[in-house]
Symmetry: C4
Subunit: 272 residues, 4 copies
Amino acid sequence: MEKPNTIAWRNRLHNTIYESNTTAGRAFDVALLVLIISSIIVVMLDSIKEYHQRYGNLFYILEWIFTGLFTLEYLLRLISIKSPLKYVFSFFGLIDLLAIIPSYLSILFTGAQSLLVLRALRLLRVFRIFKLTHFLTEMEFLKAALFTSLKKITIFMLVVLTLVIILGSVMYLVENGENGFISIPDSIYWAIVTITTVGYGDIAPVTPTGKFIASVMMFIGYGIIAVPTGIITTEMANAARLRKHGHETCPGCGREGHDKNAVYCKYCGTLL
Amino acid sequence: MEKPNTIAWRNRLHNTIYESNTTAGRAFDVALLVLIISSIIVVMLDSIKEYHQRYGNLFYILEWIFTGLFTLEYLLRLISIKSPLKYVFSFFGLIDLLAIIPSYLSILFTGAQSLLVLRALRLLRVFRIFKLTHFLTEMEFLKAALFTSLKKITIFMLVVLTLVIILGSVMYLVENGENGFISIPDSIYWAIVTITTVGYGDIAPVTPTGKFIASVMMFIGYGIIAVPTGIITTEMANAARLRKHGHETCPGCGREGHDKNAVYCKYCGTLL
Amino acid sequence: MEKPNTIAWRNRLHNTIYESNTTAGRAFDVALLVLIISSIIVVMLDSIKEYHQRYGNLFYILEWIFTGLFTLEYLLRLISIKSPLKYVFSFFGLIDLLAIIPSYLSILFTGAQSLLVLRALRLLRVFRIFKLTHFLTEMEFLKAALFTSLKKITIFMLVVLTLVIILGSVMYLVENGENGFISIPDSIYWAIVTITTVGYGDIAPVTPTGKFIASVMMFIGYGIIAVPTGIITTEMANAARLRKHGHETCPGCGREGHDKNAVYCKYCGTLL
Amino acid sequence: MEKPNTIAWRNRLHNTIYESNTTAGRAFDVALLVLIISSIIVVMLDSIKEYHQRYGNLFYILEWIFTGLFTLEYLLRLISIKSPLKYVFSFFGLIDLLAIIPSYLSILFTGAQSLLVLRALRLLRVFRIFKLTHFLTEMEFLKAALFTSLKKITIFMLVVLTLVIILGSVMYLVENGENGFISIPDSIYWAIVTITTVGYGDIAPVTPTGKFIASVMMFIGYGIIAVPTGIITTEMANAARLRKHGHETCPGCGREGHDKNAVYCKYCGTLL
């Protein structure tokens, strides 16, 4: 049976690491954020050849320091949580692990170092920090709007996907496996590049027919890029309206659409 | 005169293949969907040279299996429908035929194999599957919104088309048939690539005048890409409103179409 | 003094050519439309080298036929209008002239032929044809929405223009006149290509600083492309609402926003 | 102690230079605008090699004239304002200085001339001119809409930034530091180019995995480009509604903010 002060100590640790309502918790989150960003910057700079040659050793040391700190954090997370396994196999648990493993692997296998870029995934923790800020409501708003429009967007994307597969296959036939259309997957890749108006130009139609089909595709893409926008805008307008107006129904005239701060029905004057 | 049990059997077959309200019907649709997708994947992989060389024979066998199954499906569709000819010359009937013919043609003519990519067209049947799902309402919503805005979009596209023909022709004159602007159709193709903001860069203006005209075009494109979005968004907002409000019916004159905030019938003045 | 029947004849001709409310007028418009489109197609095909070599003579003859017909049309327009000069110097008058002059010039100067592409400008007459159709209301709607948002769009474009001039100049400094940024106008051209998300790639930043600035520009462009869309969408929504609702004010309660077909005020039931 | 007429003279000068409500003030602003634009045009033309060689001397003289006038303007601004230091270190004060310094520097150091492009920054003064025009309200409208949506846009941009860092890092791993993905910053630059649908094509994926990830990114970019549009459109619609409706004041409790269709005050129930 554990000593009570151990339990108390663990709870404090848990609040600091997992919660943000205490000063310590906030401090921890900010510190972690700074640590993550600087570790990513180091990995970035190290990936540039000139810098690697010049400051390679410094970066190497820094990376081990970050690895050490992240390992410490990982262990603290493990001991301060009730069900460590649940954390280990949670989304963030795996990301936290991915951020430290490469360094240790690099001792055994050369090149594992390069996996350090996976640390970028830890950036996702950044959005935890927003939990503390007044950005929260706005985030909730965006998430709500996106969530309600998810279904429509999914269908839309499925339609586009079918479209690019068909048009890609047709282009493979038309361009006859040449001019970069060397396979159907490549042609589909080109179709996506075209319909999303990215247009790298690494693959571009050469035959007149190909150019004609491409032109039609661009017009289609031009037209349908409006669809997701329309969907999301409509949903946002709704979300905004809902946030402003409640759904209260007037007991007098039974009509709704009153403001949140309404005391009397604006149609018949009954007390709400 | 046919035996009744034959008729019953044909009706069951018809329901299974053409309808989706029975368990068998749903199962058939799902199976078909899986079959179509896997057949397309095989065609895709076969189009990649390395894979073709390594697994060419396997793909060949698989393609014949798919052809066999699709042929069987095609025959079943023929015998289970009242007017086979109507099906044969229907949109989906032709697609279903296009999906099996190439294999048989490839026996007579080499290269006909390549037409197998037309199987991608069968993907359109995917959207039949949605009929079974709760996606239906959303699809209807999107279709409605797009349909009501079709007219406006058409005009918009005609304006853009005129614009690209004129600007393309002008660029052909300006760039003097060089730098990829080798013909008016090519210049129009470039104009479309530019105004839709795809911008491959396979053709790009070189002369100062050309660059200036291109810049103006981009600004135009930047401005007018907003038009289809505006159209579709407005229509969607309307569709959403209609779906939300419904149409109250007046107890006095029985006519509907009143606003949500209406207190009295706007036709006969009766209290709603 | 002209004979009355001459006057009558001229009026009929005027109605046929300039108006579309008579059967003859409609027929004339459609015929002209067909003529314009086919003449443009001929010019297009002639601009393709292979075709020019093979069918050059045919195209040559056709072009003279079109020139003849357009000249005839031009003369008829001249004699059937009250103030010929006003027509000659009108927008369409100049376009109509531009469509026939090149052929005659080509007799004197070789190469003037190439100016035939200017015939594409006659496509603008296409939109006259819409006047006859049920597309009219939709066109009016689009024009109204665009017109009301013109002011905002203008400001927006001015802001973007300032932005690209400044950023272009900065990039010229950063890329040090190399990598395609050979002059400020070229750098501005690049800035426009970037901020409108066209992205040819004919000019692309190479220095790290340049790439950073470019990235920032893309984010800016990503954000502000939403502005014209927002403007036009809002205006369209207004236009749609106005078209649906009138501005009538109720004599009883003095509130407006009633439907066009409203007979009684929907708030207080007063006869409108 | 200054002579009163000196003070009066300074006040007049101050109004002329800093205000626009007097005729002189308006004239000054317009003159300045013309001066700025022509000076920028000269710098632009001078940056084009051919022109520099041909008209280099002319440009040189003009630049000194502009420098002289801008210096004069700068001095006038200094003496006509109460707190010169505050102006010197203000945003526009620094820009005004940046516009004249390069010329003087070029006497000491060769090449400083090139910094003249910084004059483009003075274009920002253009928007001061709008203060005089009826564009003001529209500008205020746009600014308001953008300001209210700033928070949401910021979050959105942060999400996109995280996304491109992660996806860029992953692509660096996938493309294995080749095909232009030579460093993580470069890969992130590519990710931004892709997700904003700019798509230069200077860096493009080559490996199948890379192309697949790129395709997914494009779809994401295709979907989320709708988000800022949705945000801004919604805010603009709100701004437009507020501007249109105004806020009726209740005769009973004197509070405003009632809906346009309100019959009774929602706070005290008084008939509006």
